[in-house]
Symmetry: C2
Subunit: 224 residues, 2 copies
């Protein structure tokens, strides 16, 4: 395939808000991530960084997702969500099942930074949303959260519900792939990632970073 | 290990001028190397580059070795070696075996850009050397070439001898590892490498470039 005709990356479109939230991954790599020096991006999707122990590749979307997940969850637990008022309310139509889910978790959505009011038959008006969310994401996000079947919602602990809402917000507010980042933004992302409790995997367990260790590089080049 | 205390790379010290010269490797990756965009170095030894088909790691020393090898050999075959006169002759003492080898291949050394004259008992004076060689490398290089046992030299074809001399010169004149390169120098190195007949392996068959393909990266991040 000639240069220039490389395919764009598949956009991270598969909703996964109902997957198990992973928060028990090892944290021993925390210091490693903090020592990284960003070199650039490939395909405007993955940050390439140099570490003292090798070459790192960071998925910019899931890295930002992890940062936002911990921030949203922390603010929620401190009852201090960061919210933004919308210029115009966004009107969202719900299915009967989504309406049931909405009635059950609207208090939790409010605690996470949403302000949503009934607006006639199976319709709601979103007047405020968690900070950082683009208005164009709000309808999709709301449908995604409200897709959880009622049976499942009733079995969910408050803790799990909070995490699920935070993970869905984080996924929709995070930097997308196929997005150019300048060096300062890459630096910021790696610094913020290093401050998270779990910098190696997104809330759904997808890897954030790959490492090509120095020893393996040396071996591949027949240098050791 | 904390950042900053990472070990320096082992310097490329093992002489390998007598290994078989490899010049029959596949060349279908030529276009790929030409499309690379350098992002930076790791450990001031390996150039990290972005290609349309993935992430590349290039060993700067062996890449330059390949470039110089083809250039020196081409000039030799055109009887137009690039030579540099030394400010002061370098006096080199030879073992009896090296003296035998010197007498046998001095004409070939001259054709490659050396100007070496007898200087008393088992001693020679180097007055000129191939361009690009640092004077501090000349004694080691000469000993390395002249280490070839006479029995082996007698069996060597002219063609193989020319390649062996060119490979040894290239190895000693090439950019070392643990050397910082600015973006222009990295760009130059990749451009020159793309012009070589065999950009994927050094004259002794060591790999020049490793590629981490886009598909493999996407798989590792659970994106396909």
């Amino acid at each position: 395939m000639p240069p220039g005709s490389a395919p764009s990356f598949p956009i991270d479109s598969a909703p996964h808000s109902r997957a198990r939230i992973v928060d028990d991954l090892p944290t021993e790599t925390l210091a490693d991530v903090g020592s990284l020096r960003p070199l650039g991006q490939i395909k405007e999707s993955f940050i390439i960084a140099s570490g003292y122990d090798g070459l790192w590749i960071i998925d910019q979307h899931v890295a930002h997702e992890r940062i936002l997940f911990e921030k949203v969850l922390h603010n929620r637990q401190a009852n201090a969500p960061e919210s933004q008022r919308l210029l115009m309310p966004i009107i969202v139509t719900l299915t009967p099942e989504q309406q049931v889910a909405f009635d059950r978790i609207n208090d939790e959505l409010f605690a996470a930074g949403f302000e949503i009011e009934p607006f006639g038959h199976r319709t709601v008006a979103v007047k405020a949303s968690p900070a950082g969310l683009s208005p164009s994401e709000i309808e999709t996000l709301l449908h995604e959260i409200l897709e959880t079947p009622d049976r499942e919602l009733r079995e969910l602990s408050i803790d799990d519900l909070q995490k699920q809402v935070a993970a869905t917000i984080a996924c929709h507010a995070a930097i997308k792939i196929n997005t150019p980042l300048d060096p300062a933004k890459m630096r910021w992302l790696l610094d913020e990632l290093a401050k998270t409790e779990c910098p190696m995997a997104c809330p759904h367990g997808r890897p954030i970073a790959l490492k090509y260790g120095l020893k393996d590089i040396l071996k591949a080049f027949h240098r050791i």
